[in-house]
Each structure stands twice: as structure tokens, then as C-alpha cells.
Amino acid sequence: MARNWSDYKTNSWVQWCPACGNFGILLAMQKALAELDLPPEKTSIVSGIGCSSRIPYYVKTSNIHTLHGRPIPVAEGIKLANPEQTVIVASGDGDLLGIGAGHFVALGRRNMQIAILLHDNAVYGLTKGQAAPTLPLWLKTKALDAPNIQSQINPLLLAFASGYTFIARAYAYHVDQLKDLIKLAINHKGTALIDILQPCPTYNDIMSKEWYEKRIYYLTSADPSWDPNISSQEDFDMKAPKILDKMTEWGEKIPLGIFYRNISIEPLETRIEKILPGYLQYPPAKRPIDIKSKPIVHPFTEFKDRIVQT
């Protein structure tokens, strides 16, 4: 019997502030997992540190709450050793684009099959509202003493430049649309980013529900011919300018939906298989290393070339 979204609920008390955008993301995540019918033990949500990074406790899958900024490398280690595990990273904008930005970039070069859910509230929620890397220049949210003097990162462009092959933006309170994107991101054969605009009613008093809802629109509703799908280099050359154009749109209008989906770039798992045939069939985590406590590899046969006879 297929699983229901409530099968992915835990009985932990969800400790976010009332009306926090994270609630929408949580629900969308549970629904997506249910619709994909993913076995909870074979699914891992990996988070960093922050308000958003508490999400692992509220989803009944085998989850890991790591260090501030480090969910991506932990996720990579899991995926490399056990490619069968479904691995989702859910973390804050400070976590992924501030302290963990190097990992965010490096993951794109690898294009591993990991879905990144970026809880983008433009503030550091858990440390009481300081500016996050996505907070626009000169905005003064309520915890700030003076307007923000550092300008904002565009997560979509950063992901694009880094090599992510699935790039989307969503809005936390549009649960069903977000759920659909999460499903696509999880199934995408490569690294996927969903930049989720997530109102933080407690600290981001400017980019509020009302602020967003005045601005957001869906790429496909504005332009029914919108096509983010790329399957070849020619496709890319043709469509990239328009994609970039949409990725840079921010202000009075903020587009949502899939900006870019490139299926012509192979994921790291496939690349490893090429240089290490058998990797996917015998991944590191899956095979015994000993027979009754004796090593499978015998040093004198494996390292024959290092042995010198006298």
C-alpha cells in the first residue's frame, strides 16, 4: 500500500514560530515523499544548523542534523558510499550560501544526485535575525541596527555557474507547487536546487507574505511556451540567454518555477562508474570486507609488485 504523507510525520513538536514559512516546506516535503512512496529508511534528509535545519526531526526518514554549513559534504559522503540512498539536503540560506558556500559550489561541479532545498528567508533565523547572504542591499529588517551594506547573492545564478543541472524557485506557502518541484528535484539525475522563498515573520518584517505575494508569478503562467529543458549543447546555446534573463529578474516581479533542467550532463555516479567499472554494482558500503574476520584483500597478492625477493 502506498504511503500517505502522514506516514512521514514524527510525533516531535514542531518548534517554529507561528506562520513560519518552514511549515509549508515541511508539509510539501512530506507530501512529496509520500507521492514518491520513498522507503523512510532509504531516504535521508541532511540539514545544517538553523531554524530550517530542524526539519529532519519532523520527517520520519533516516535523517542527519549536521554542523553549520556542512550538510552538503555529509550528504555527498552518504551518496558516494551508498548511491542507492535518496539524499535530500534541507538547510538555511546562511548555512548553504554563507558558511557552507564552498560546498554549495563544489557540489555543482560534481552534479551528484542530491536535491538541495534552500530555505531562503534572507535572515539568520536561529541567531536572531542577522542579515543572510540573500538579504538585498540597504534593506533594514527589524533585528538590524542599520541597513544591510552587503549585497545579495543570487542563488540561481550561483547554482547555474557552479554546474547544477536542475534549478528552480518556489514559494513556501504554495505547498502543492513546491511539492511537485521537490518530487522532480529528487528524481532528477544530477544536482538540483530549489530556492524556496520562505517568509520569516519573526525577523524578516520586510520580505513578508504580503511582500512576496505581490511579486511572485509562475514562469509557465506568464509564458505558456516557457521551456527550461535542455538535452544537448545546441539546446543550451539556444535557451541559455533567456534562462539567464529570467534568473536575474528580481524586484517588482519575482518568477517561480523551473528555470533550468539539463539532462545532458552526467552525474558523478556515472562518471565514477566509467573510471571504476563495477562501482554502482558494488558500491563501497554494500560489500563485505572480511570473511570471518579475515580481510578479503590479501596483502601479498594485492601488493606483489612491492615485494622484493632476496
Partner: protein, 640 residues
């Protein structure tokens, strides 16, 4: 008279093939049954700075240390002659290039200012002109050293013509001139040299032939003119087979035998070579059939190296990362997470000269205390250190066994000395090797939500991530299910549960894996050391014994959990004035660790922190000074 041991230095610019000379000669001497230890000293530089190999070859034992003076200095260039002529024994040999005769020391632009000034002082004091010819003349007149002048260019020209190699390529064969010179003086068989060359250049026939040609040619030339004055006695070591390997490679071998399935790294000297070795062995096959694979992953930094290894370890793959001081400094937050989450993880830590970038290519033992205390909070870890290739091999396997049995991070300390030294090592005993995966399971009995941190026992069943159960892991304090809990009672119970594992490890791990006493009942002084100090300490003790001083050596291998009772028991047998700590650092870090754990205070120290290894003759001398009450603290400095 036949020699029992010979010592030599081969020097030249970094990148000119000294590593080849070292590996070929080590294999060649080994195949004749001799024991070899060959150190490589080099600058943090790719090409051009002065580097040299320094070796001991022995017919009577597997050598464990290096010493001065040397019997041969083989010089590829003028800088080697200037830098090392003083390292020669009074009847040694210096092989140099006739093409450098007119080179003045001022023309050696790669030489460091301090070295230049030191040599200039010597030349001025002895009224020697500042060129190689004058220096050689001085040596010839005033010592019994034999200068051997060879026309390197002429030799390489014949090679060029014979093998149609261009002049630039021909330069790469200088390393074989030195091989031939050593072979001539020591009279090793051409066949042994050939074996060494073949092993080094597997299958590249032209290169093999050209190298053999040069080595043979030089060997004959030298034997005709000088005979084999350094001929070694027949070896009495009596072993059929050896592994010839650097420390980096033997750790790699240990890890592979021990079942490593994931290794992350960010390139750093002197650790990266180990990962490169593993990269060459990623496919695991038995009888030609692939059975598994090792993921070797070059990460974007050391933070990702350790955290990705954590992720991998959670899946049940034996996981490790290898680094040096700067990289380890970045890893420590991750280390705490692993300790807190009971993740079996091996960190192979090659120490080099710190702090900061320090001496990137030079040896040191200054990170012991850091490895013991790094990361905030309190959590269990095991810290072990290896003293030679054999230990390094077994320890690499034990590190995984301890990590999985006690579910904690294990820091395996090595140093640049061991990493780069190539030596002959007896084959490990396969019967001694055991794999202990502790409570790992791929098939947990309980299904669904799972008490990963069941308080009923300090060490729990550990299901691999993905196998049957839903688990949570977190860096926050957690309850039995891995959910955050700040409850004081839970905090106390979890804290104690984790730390309790060290008490269990302390009880279970046999003493011979933690500290080894070398000496007899009547020893009346004691050296204490760890890591690479082992070899030189043992050899010094032997030499001192021949001089009528009966000492012992206590080799420390495990610093957490520290074998306090055993160590204290040994220390108490000795007169405190005759207990000497020997280390490659300024603080006496192992001595401090002994005090912390046992209350015993050590008052005599022999320390070296120049980045060069402790040499036998300087250690022997320093021990005598201390035993004669000439000093409490000897700081050693020999070596360029």
C-alpha cells in the same frame, strides 16, 4: 675490509630524479639481502631547490635510523658539493661533475642565504677559494676523502647518441649516474640494479634500457679506477622477502587490507601521496573478479573531507581521511560531531612542521597535544601513533577496528619522516590481521524507529544508514532516538555513556598495542619516545650498550586511552635523573601527556625541532651528556 653498514647522501635539485635513485637503490640493495632506510629531505618547491636522499644500508640488521658522517656524497650539482662535503667521513667518497668545477658558490642561486653564509664562513676560515675546484683540492690535501670526478655531460652525450634521446631528456638520467656510482663503490650486482630500475619504470623499455646503460657504465668506470672500497659484507639478515615502501604507501596498503571503502582528502604534503596510492587501487578484486570498490574523493577542503567521511561512515563503509596539520585544523569541528554521534572514522594525520604553513615538507611531532584535545566539548577519541613501517601497516588496520568496535573517531598519528622514508620492511604476518567490525549491522532486528543510542549499554548495535531502520543523528545533545534533548538527566546519561567507551577500550586493548618496552631488567636509563623516534632510539641504545651503557626504550603507541598504569610501572623502576624524553618538538608533548595521566614528572629532554630527523650519532652523544649530568635538556640540530 668489508663494511657492515654504509651511509650515503645523494643530492641535487628538486625534481631531478632523486626519488628514482632512492627507490632503485633501495630495491637493489634489498634484493641482495641488505636492509635499507632512505630518507628524503626537500624544500617546499617543485623544481630547483636543493634536495637529497640520505640512506643507511646494513648487512647486519634492518636499519632503523640515519646517521652521520656518510661514506658517499653523490652530487648532481655544485650546491650538493658545497652543502654536504662536511657530512663525509674522513675516508669517504665524493662524486661530482667535472662540469661544475669552475662553479662559484655565488653562482648557486638556489642556495638559501643562511646556508650560503655558513659555507662562506668555512671557506674563508680555511682560505679556500669559492669554487668547487678549490674546495675539492682542499679536501684532497687535508683529508683522506677521495673525490671522484665524472664528466656528466660526456656520459649523457653517449647516452643521447646511443638511445637517440634529446639533450633535455638526457638530463633526466643524471639520477642513474649516481646510482651507478653507489653501485660501483659498494659492488652491488648489475642485475640487482636492473631489477630496481625495472620495478621503478614498469614496462617502459627504452627508459629502462637507458637507465641500465648509464648505471652500468658509471659502475664500471668507478670500479676500474677506484675498486669497490665500500663493498658490503655478505648480509646476515636472512630473509627471503621484503616490502620496499614509503610510509605513505604502506599506510595505504594497511588501509586496503583493513577494508577501507571511502577515503577523502584535500591535497596536502606529506599526506596526499597516501591518497594517490589508494586512487591507484580503487577497484577491489579477488582472483581477478571485481568484488568491491573504494571511493577516493578529492574534496574542496578538509572540512568537506572529514564531514563527507562521516556521511560515508554512517552507511557502514569503512571511512577515512588523510591530512596534515593545516588540514586537521580545519577538521576539528567535524571531529567533535563524529565523537558525539559515535561515528567510526579514521583520521590519518601526518605531522609536519607547524604552526601555520610552517615547514610543509619537513618532519615534526608537534601536534600530539592538539590531536588529543582538538575540538570543543568532551567526547571520546582514540589516538594512536606509529613508529615504523611495520607498525604503520598494522595500526592502519587497528585504527578501523578500534573505530568500529568503540564507535568513535580514531586519530592515527604519523609524521613526514615516516611518510617519505623508503625502507625495507619484513612482510606482515597475515595470521595476525583481524577485522573487527564491532556492532555494525546491515540487518537490524528492530524495524522502524530505532534507539541508535540505547542507554542500556555504552556501545550499541550500529545499523548502516539505509538498512531497515529509521534513525536520527545530530550534533545537538540527543536522546536514545537521536532526537534533540536538553533534559539534564538525559544529558548526564548520554555524556557518561559516550565517555564510558574509553574505559572499555582501556580494559580491552592489549598493552602491546599501546606501549612497548625495549630493554632488559638491568637497564639503568630510559629513553621515552613515540613515532619516528623509535628507530633512532633503539639504534642509539644498541650503540650505547656496545659502549657499556645499558639503557632501555619505552615506545608510546596509544595516547588515548593512555596506558597509565603500565607506563608508570616502568618509569618507577628508573632513577628520575636517568629518564629521558626524546621528541621532535619543543614542549616535550609526550612527557606532558605522561604527567597528565600518571602524575610522573620527566626532567630530562632531548628535543629536535629543525624539521630534520634525529640522527643516531647526535642522539648517542646527547644521551651521554645527560647521563653525565652535563645538561638536562639537549636540543639537536644536525642536518641541512
Amino acid at each position: 675490509m668489508l663494511r657492515k653498514e654504509i651511509y650515503f647522501i645523494l643530492g641535487g635539485p628538486q625534481g631531478a630524479g632523486l626519488e628514482t635513485s632512492s627507490s632503485v637503490l633501495t630495491s637493489a640493495f634489498t634484493s641482495e639481502g641488505y636492509g635499507v632506510i632512505s630518507d628524503r629531505e626537500y624544500y617546499s618547491n617543485i623544481m630547483g631547490r636543493h634536495s637529497y636522499i640520505h640512506a643507511t644500508v646494513s648487512s647486519i640488521r634492518i636499519p632503523r635510523s640515519l646517521t652521520y658522517p656518510v661514506d658517499i656524497v653523490g652530487a648532481m650539482d655544485a650546491e650538493t658539493v658545497f652543502t654536504h662535503f662536511n657530512d663525509l667521513s674522513k675516508d669517504g667518497f665524493i662524486i661530482y661533475d667535472s662540469g661544475t668545477e669552475n662553479t662559484k658558490i655565488q653562482q648557486v642561486i638556489s642556495m638559501e642565504k643562511e646556508v650560503y653564509e655558513r659555507i662562506m664562513e668555512f671557506l674563508n676560515k680555511n682560505n679556500i677559494n669559492q669554487d668547487i675546484k678549490s674546495l675539492v683540492n682542499y679536501v684532497e690535501k687535508n683529508t683522506k676523502i677521495t673525490p671522484i670526478k665524472l664528466d656528466y655531460r660526456g656520459i649523457l652525450n653517449t647516452l643521447r647518441d646511443k638511445f637517440s634521446i634529446n639533450s633535455v631528456e638526457a638530463q633526466k638520467y643524471k639520477s642513474s649516474i649516481l646510482i651507478g656510482a653507489v653501485a660501483g663503490l659498494t659492488d652491488i650486482d648489475s642485475q640487482s640494479i636492473a631489477t630496481g630500475i625495472e620495478q621503478r619504470f614498469k614496462g617502459k623499455q627504452k627508459i629502462i634500457d637507458a637507465n641500465k646503460y648509464i648505471a652500468d657504465f658509471v659502475k664500471e668506470t668507478i670500479q676500474k679506477q677506484f675498486g669497490s672500497q665500500l663493498k658490503l659484507d655478505h648480509s646476515s639478515i636472512n630473509m627471503d622477502e621484503f616490502i620496499v615502501s614509503s610510509g605513505n604507501d604502506i599506510v595505504g596498503m594497511g588501509k586496503i587490507v583493513g577494508g577501507v571503502r571511502y577515503q577523502s582528502y584535500y591535497p596536502i604534503t606529506p599526506a596526499a601521496d597516501e591518497s594517490v596510492f589508494l586512487e591507484a587501487h580503487q577497484a577491489i578484486s579477488v582472483n581477478g573478479k571485481p568484488i568491491s570498490s573504494i571511493a577516493v574523493f578529492q574534496t574542496e577542503d578538509e572540512i568537506a573531507a572529514i564531514t563527507s567521511a562521516i556521511g560515508s561512515a554512517l552507511t557502514g563503509a569503512r571511512s577515512a581521511t588523510a591530512t596534515s596539520g593545516p588540514g586537521y585544523s580545519l577538521m576539528v569541528e567535524g571531529l567533535g560531531w563524529a565523537g558525539h554521534n559515535e561515528v567510526p572514522l579514521v583520521i590519518t594525520y601526518y605531522q609536519r612542521g607547524g604552526p601555520s604553513t610552517g615547514l610543509p615538507t619537513r618532519g615534526s611531532q608537534s601536534d600530539l597535544l592538539f590531536s588529543l584535545y582538538s575540538s570543543h566539548g568532551e567526547f571520546p577519541r582514540i589516538v594512536i601513533a606509529s613508529g615504523d613501517n611495520m607498525e604503520a601497516f598494522y595500526d592502519s588496520i587497528d585504527a578501523f577496528n578500534f573505530a568500529e568496535r568503540y564507535q568513535l573517531p580514531v586519530i592515527h598519528l604519523l609524521d613526514k619522516f615516516l611518510a617519505n622514508v623508503i625502507s625495507t620492511t619484513p612482510l606482515p604476518d597475515f595470521n595476525q590481521i583481524k577485522i573487527d567490525r564491532g556492532m555494525l549491522t546491515f540487518n537490524p532486528k528492530v524495524k522502524g524507529a530505532y534507539k541508535r543510542y540505547d542507554l542500556s549499554s555504552p556501545i550499541n548495535e550500529r545499523p548502516a544508514l539505509g538498512s531497515g531502520v529509521v534513525m536520527w543523528h545530530t550534533g545537538d545533545e540527543h536522546n536514545e532516538y537521536g532526537h534533540i534533548s536538553e533534559d539534564p538527566n538525559n544529558r548526564r546519561a548520554m555524556y557518561e555513556k559516550r565517555m564510558k567507551k574509553l574505559e572499555i577500550a582501556d580494559k580491552e586493548i592489549p598493552i602491546e598495542k599501546r606501549a612497548i618496552y625495549y630493554g632488559d631488567e638491568n637497564a639503568d636509563f630510559l629513553l621515552i619516545g613515540w613515532g619516528f623516534v623509535k628507530g633512532v632510539a633503539l639504534d642509539a641504545i644498541e650503540e650505547l650498550k656496545a659502549q657499556g651503557l645499558n639503557g632501555a626504550y619505552l615506545h608510546l603507541k596509544m595516547f588515548i586511552p593512555f596506558p597509565s598504569k603500565y607506563v608508570k610501572g616502568i618509569l618507577d623502576k628508573f632513577d628520575n635523573n636517568r629518564v629521558i624524553d626524546v621528541e621532535h618538538n619543543i614542549m616535550g608533548q609526550a612527557a606532558q601527556t605522561i604527567t597528565t595521566n600518571t602524575g610522573y614528572i620527566i626532567n630530562k629532554f632531548i628535543l629536535k625541532y629543525t624539521g630534520r630527523p634525529i640522527y643516531r650519532m647526535e642522539l648517542v652523544n646527547a644521551v651521554k651528556n645527560i647521563l653525565n649530568n652535563k645538561s638536562d635538556r639537549e636540543v639537536l640540530t644536525y642536518g641541512e
